[in-house]
């Protein structure tokens, strides 16, 4: 079985009397150490899928296996523990704690994980050695996203989930971030899932999952992913 596998995952949102299907039997699988890119238009269900994978959302039906464990069966504390130890999340809007310095934001995550990595090292790795003591407000968007990534990987998670990590960034910065994510995958062997609506990014992935209307329309394996630096859009 694959490292990550979605099996007939259905997710319905109930808004009063209206039921909105977000996922309608989505199926895909990602192997360990792969960099996956999920592509799709707004409302295709990609964020929902990522949220489910990140333990932030429950499924209406179906099963999601991560490292051989069905996370849809997890409840309460188990789910939090799953989030805590297995998942690193990178948001579009960084969601750094504004009141904490870069280093502290990383430490915030690192301190709760048993196998966490050194926050300082992480910041060194994302190229922010000299901005460690800066507050988010003192950092540019790209720098903030780097801190967010450092925060995510400092937990030493099984999965690194990124929801439109470059959505709020300019092209150059976005490219640097994607490079960082690709490097993380390649060098650390971490499984990375990136949501994007930018199809141009597809070549950088080991596997590209296309979604539409809550279903996975296509899963393309890319045996030769291209380094992000070589991708132009």
């Amino acid at each position: 079985m694959a490292y990550i596998s979605f099996k007939n995952v259905t997710k319905n949102y109930k808004m009063g009397e209206v039921t909105i299907p977000a996922l309608a039997g989505a199926n895909f699988a990602v192997e360990k150490g792969q960099l996956a890119v999920i592509l799709g238009a707004s409302g295709a269900g990609k964020t929902t899928a990522l949220n489910i994978l990140g333990g932030m959302e429950t499924v209406t039906d179906g099963a999601v296996y991560v490292d051989g464990r069905d996370i849809t069966k997890l409840r309460g504390k188990q789910l939090i523990r799953y989030r805590r130890e297995d998942i690193g999340f990178v948001f579009q809007f960084y969601n750094l704690v504004p009141n904490l310095t870069a280093q502290e934001n990383v430490e915030l995550a690192a301190q709760i994980c048993p196998d966490s990595l050194s926050a300082s090292d992480m910041l060194d790795r994302v190229g922010l050695s000299d901005r460690k003591n800066n507050f988010p407000a003192q950092l540019s968007g790209g720098e903030q996203q780097r801190v967010a990534i450092a925060r995510a990987i400092a937990k030493n998670p099984k999965l690194l989930l990124c929801d439109e990590p470059t959505g709020a960034l300019d092209y150059r910065t976005g490219k640097q971030i994607l490079q960082l994510l690709q490097d993380t995958c390649r060098k650390d062997g971490m499984t990375v899932l990136i949501i994007t609506h930018n199809s141009a990014l597809a070549p950088m992935a080991d596997i590209v999952i296309r979604m539409a209307s809550g279903q996975v329309t296509e899963t393309i394996s890319n045996p030769n992913p291209i380094p992000i630096a070589q991708i132009e859009w």
Binding site: V97, N99, E107, L108, P136
Partner: protein
């Protein structure tokens, strides 16, 4: 309002009902508490005003130091603005109650006037002069009922007549008087001399011709609320007018009194003069009588002297006569003695002759005797012879007879034939014998013849002798005759002399007798004269004494009259006191208490308001901030700023107005009712109204909703005026900042990571920081203040009775002499129940400050100031040093405050009899209950010129339990010499009761504060969460356990709660002081105090509320939807 806007608002409310409810709750509490507390005092004042209007309660009261007259009433009625006026007589009397006497104020019910009409609770008003009506409380203390008879006793001065026609009064009804709003409460303050109860009798029972009080109503005053300024200024205007006529009326009364007094004095003078004249006449008469008697006596004395001289003369003449007679007698005696000498010698010769003759005669007689003897012997012999012859004859005859017989017998015997021998013998013998006898008889006859011859011879001799004798005797007789003649002459002479002597002696005796008698008589007369003189002298002395007495009496009487005349000169011009209702204890304390409540109604709701508005402001600001994107969108769509803001303003208005209305609906009735339930025990009003005051209702809503809406508008304004583009961009989160603490690296390093975060967070959101602290501080401040009020109230009694008043009971003597009091003092000292006691002088005095303010208080005057310290500690408010009662008066702090005086000022002290003295205030001393003044006996003497008489004991009892103390108090109370005996314990518990009532209000405050605390904290936590929802979602996504998220969020709240609580505790201390400062309860000084326990309780309560609310956030935090929160910036 467009339909979509309305829908938008309704949806918004539905979606954010928590926020809506919390704002509504704020408004509920703010407005409800505001109107509730205000309405409490308003309703009290309104109900009271209604009652006062219904009873036509006076607006102004006129008192005079010299009483008031019907003319005064008429004069007052002439004053512009005075509607009606009536005079009332009142006097303190004693009434028997179950345990002794009770001093009761008796007032007259004026005829034909309805001012101060009594409210009849039961029974009916009296229509007879010997009837009365009383308040319920008096029935309770006397144990009487309607229909029973109440006996009143007056304390009359000397020569004073009773002021009442009847003193046995039938109770016809139970009433309440508007004048005694307060005293008819269940708790009577029976301090020294204070009058606790009252009763009413018809004016017809009043014997006095003057009034003691004059009550008047003011035109248009009834229409005004008696507790509002308008009323006060309206009445003040008339008060000024009434005061204007005071001078004239005072003068009139003065002249009346002076004229009356002068007339009385003139009468007395006339009477005295007349009496003096009469007495003088009487004395003159008596003198005349005495003089007459003296004259008579002198006459008598003269007469006596005359008669004494006369008698002396007469006695002297008589003595002369006697003396000459004595001389004559002596001469006669001498002559007689010579004669008698010659007669004696003659007589001696005669006696010699007589002796010789007698001798001869004797011899003759001897011879004659011898002769006669011889004759007698002869005759005896003859007689013997004759007898013997007769015997022999008789013998012969007998023998013859016997012989005859014998011979007869012999015959018979012979005839009888008997032996006659013997008889014959015998006859023989007899015949023999008869012969013998015849022989003897013959012899004797011879002898007899011889004898007869001898006798004849002797007789012849005898005759011769007899003639000799006769001769001698004849001679002798002649001699004897001579002697006799001599003797006779001598005897005659002697007799004559004796007779003369006797005569003389008799004359002498007569003279002596006469003299004695005369002297006796004269002495008697002299004695009588002396006695008479003594009597006259006594009479004179007595008369002199009487004269002196009379003079003295007249002088005394004259002096009295002169003094009276002088006193007339001393009659002070009477002083009018024109008082408003503030002068009435019941009304003024009602005013004070309801105003206190009003002040609490201002202070507390103010804090409430501030907190509520602050919280609402935060809520609404948050709401507006949350929806800045929407605002921007709407702005971009072309909605005007006003239209956009309208949503938030309407939202705030809907929440705050609905909350405020609901709060008012409930609190307008509920709070006044609760509060009145507390005050009801103090003040009796027939009805309590709780109308909704539209002004306050509107004010509550307007102020409450207005400030919340204004706060919202302010929040909106900041946002809506920005460009839509700006608004639609996500708001940059507050930048993180290093806090000061971080500069202290060693300390900062030691802190755990999460603590660092907490600390930074604390200072990041300054608004939230301040708001949370203020909100929590406000709540804990209110709770602390509530508890602090309780503490302060509870401290009152220990302060008063442990730091100031140390005695166990106070016993006030009634109208007793100093001797009686001394006796009482000794009894008191000797009583086993008494450990020690001190006698002092106590009296009620009126303090009048320069400002004209006047209050009646109790003045204590100890003669032993040093010992007095054992009973009452006088602690200077300035130096906090204990002082000794001195020659300058000491006032207790509140009265000094009320009078506006301080140490060194002068205050006028007016005694009950009207005399007054200006006394310098020596110090202001601590005291917490009632008002007192202290002045040493010397100071009193200096002020009034008389030594204060002790009339009160302060007593420390021996170790007694409660029952023993009660028994002792009861025993003293039943002693008629005491008027008031009250134990500290009783006073303490009475005050305790009253404070307990205020405690009730405090509990309401605490409850309200607690409610506020919950709402505030709940609101705060909601705001906090919504404000930080992204951050919280982020850390949830990062995998923080629920507990960790809770801690992450709560740690700040806890710190803020602690900070806010600490601040609130300090603020509560201040608020306690502030509320107490504004309350100013009459007769009670409350030292603001908050006990450690209360701080702890307030802190614990706040923390508990905060914790409960925080715990509820645990669930809110769990429910945070990470996906929703992180979906977008919004």
């Amino acid at each position: 309002m467009t339909k979509s806007l309305r829908k938008n608002i309704l949806r918004e409310i539905r979606g954010t009902w928590k926020r809506f409810v919390s704002i509504a709750l704020m408004a509920f509490l703010g407005a409800g508490f505001f109107v509730g507390i205000n309405a409490s005092s308003l309703d009290m004042q309104l109900s009271c005003d209604q009652y006062l209007d219904e009873q036509n309660c006076f607006d102004l009261e006129v008192l005079s130091t010299m009483g008031l007259t019907e003319d005064d009433v008429k004069a007052v009625l002439q004053v512009r603005g005075v509607e009606d006026a009536v005079g009332v007589y009142s006097e303190n009397v004693l009434v028997d109650i179950t345990d002794g006497d009770e001093k009761v104020k008796l007032l007259s019910i004026p005829q034909d006037s309805h001012i101060n009409a009594l409210y009849v609770i039961d029974g009916e008003m009296p229509d007879q002069a010997d009837e009365c009506v009383v308040p319920q409380s008096l029935l309770e203390v006397t144990g009487k009922q309607i229909g029973d008879t109440l006996t009143i006793t007056e304390t009359l001065e000397e020569e004073e007549t009773s002021s009442f026609y009847h003193t046995e009064l039938t109770i016809t009804g139970v009433i309440e008087s508007p004048l005694y709003l307060y005293s008819s409460s269940g708790t009577n303050e029976r301090s020294t001399g204070a009058v606790a109860d009252y009763m009413y009798v018809p004016q017809a029972n009043i014997a006095e011709e003057y009034y003691t009080e004059l009550y008047l109503t003011v035109d248009g005053a009834a229409e005004l609320n008696a507790f509002e300024d308008e009323y006060e200024s309206h009445v003040d205007d008339i008060e000024v007018l009434v005061k204007e006529i005071a001078d004239e009326r005072e003068a009139a009364r003065y002249h009346q009194l002076v004229d009356d007094a002068n007339a009385e004095i003139d009468d007395a003078q006339a009477e005295l003069d007349e009496e003096a004249a009469n007495a003088r006449q009487e004395i003159a008469d008596a003198q005349k009588k005495l003089d007459d008697a003296q004259r008579e006596l002198d006459e008598g004395r003269r007469e006596l002297n005359n008669s004494r001289a006369q008698a002396e003369r007469e006695f002297a003449a008589a003595q002369d006569e006697i003396d000459s007679a004595e001389q004559q007698l002596a001469q006669g005696r001498r002559a007689f003695e010579e004669q008698s000498k010659a007669a004696e010698s003659q007589r001696a010769e005669l006696v010699e002759t007589q002796q010789e003759t007698s001798q001869q005669l004797q011899e003759l007689r001897k011879q004659r005797e011898e002769t006669a003897q011889t004759i007698a012997e002869l005759e005896t012999q003859r007689t013997q012879l004759t007898d013997a012859m007769a015997q022999i004859q008789a013998g012969i005859e007998e023998l013859t007879a016997q012989l005859e017989q014998a011979k007869a017998l012999r015959e018979q015997m012979i005839q009888a034939g008997m032996d006659i021998t013997e008889l014959d013998a015998q006859i023989d013998q007899m015949e023999t014998k008869l012969i013998e006898l015849a022989e003897s008889h013959a012899g004797y006859e011879l002898q007899l013849e011889q004898l007869n011859m001898g006798i004849a011879q002797a007789k012849e001799g005898l005759a011769q002798i007899d003639s000799g004798i006769a001769q001698a005797e004849d001679g002798l007789a002649q001699i004897e005759n001579g002697i006799e003649q001599i003797d006779k002459a001598l005897a005659d002479g002697r007799a004559q002399l004796s007779a003369a002597q006797a005569q003389l002696t008799s004359a002498k005796r007569q003279l002596a007798n006469a003299r004695n008698e005369a002297y006796a008589q004269m002495n008697e007369a002299a004695r009588e004269l002396v006695d008479g003189q003594a009597e006259i002298d006594d009479g004179n002395i007595e008369l002199a004494a009487q004269q002196a007495d009379f003079d003295r009496e007249i002088a005394d009487a004259q002096k009295e009259i002169d003094e009276a005349r002088e006193k007339v000169g001393d009659i002070n011009k009477p002083t009018w006191y024109v008082l408003t209702r503030d002068g009435n204890t019941g009304l003024s304390s009602f005013n004070q208490d309801s105003s206190n409540l009003k002040r609490i109604g201002f202070t507390f709701p103010l804090i409430f308001f501030l907190v509520a508005v602050l919280i609402s402001l935060s809520s609404m600001t948050r709401m507006v901030e949350e929806q800045r994107g929407l605002i921007g969108t709407l702005g971009a769509l072309g909605y005007s700023s006003g239209q956009i803001a309208a949503k938030y303003l309407l939202y705030a208005a809907a929440a705050s107005i609905s909350g405020a209305i609901l709060g008012e609906l409930i609190c307008f009735r509920a709070l006044p009712t609760i509060v009145w339930a507390i005050y009801d025990t103090f003040y009796t009003l027939p009805a309590f109204y709780t109308p909704i005051d539209p002004i306050y209702a509107a004010a509550g809503i307007v102020i409450c909703a207005g400030s919340i809406i204004a706060a919202t508008a302010a929040a909106c304004w900041k946002e809506v005026r920005r460009t839509p583009a700006h608004l639609m961009r996500p708001k940059a989160p507050n930048p993180g900042k290093r806090v000061l603490l971080e500069r202290i690296t060693p300390l900062w390093k030691r802190l755990s990571f999460s603590h660092k975060v907490t600390l930074r967070n604390l200072f990041r959101y300054k608004k939230r920081f301040i708001m949370t602290i203020c909100g929590i501080a406000g709540c804990s401040m209110l709770i602390t203040a509530g508890l602090g009020l309780r503490d302060s109230l509870q401290l009152l009694l220990p302060l008063q009775y442990e730091q100031v008043m140390h005695y166990d009971l106070i016993a006030v003597a009634g109208d007793v002499t100093q001797d009686e009091f001394t006796e009482m003092s000794e009894e008191m000292q000797a009583n086993d129940a008494v450990r020690d006691s001190i006698a002092i002088h106590a009296e009620s005095v009126n303090l009048v400050a320069d400002s004209g303010k006047s209050y009646e208080i109790e003045l204590f005057t100890p003669s032993d100031a040093e010992n007095f310290r054992q009973y009452i500690s006088l602690i200077d408010t300035e130096s906090e040093q204990e002082l000794s009662c001195g020659n300058e008066i000491m006032l207790t702090e509140q009265i000094a405050d009320m009078l506006g005086v301080k140490a060194g000022d002068t205050v006028s002290v007016r005694r009950e009899d009207g005399t007054k003295a200006d006394v310098t205030i020596g110090a202001v001393v601590h005291n917490y209950l009632n008002h007192y003044a202290f002045l040493s006996a010397e100071g009193y003497e200096t002020a009034y010129g008389e030594t204060p008489e002790d009339n009160t004991f302060l007593v420390n009892t021996a170790e007694l339990n409660e029952a023993e103390t009660n028994a002792f108090v009861k025993k003293l109370n039943s002693d008629t010499r005491y008027t008031t005996v009250s134990s500290t314990a009783d006073a303490r518990s009475a005050t305790d009761d009253r404070l307990g009532l205020i405690d009730g209000v405090v509990v309401i405050l605490i409850g309200a504060a607690a409610a506020l605390a919950v709402v505030v904290l709940y609101n705060l936590s909601n705001i906090n969460i919504s404000e930080r929802i992204r951050e919280l979602a982020t850390i949830k996504v990062l995998g923080f356990y629920d507990r960790e998220v809770y801690q992450y969020n709560t740690r700040e709240t806890v710190i803020l709660t602690i900070l806010g609580t600490l601040l609130g505790l300090a603020g509560g201390r201040w608020l306690t002081a502030f509320v107490l400062l504004t309350m100013e309860m009459q007769g009670i000084v409350i030292v603001p105090t908050v006990n450690a326990g209360s701080y702890v309780a307030a802190a614990v309560l706040t923390v508990i509320f905060a914790t409960v609310v925080n715990l509820s956030t645990y669930f809110s935090l769990r429910k945070i939807n990470m996906v929703e929160a992180l979906k977008s910036v919004e």
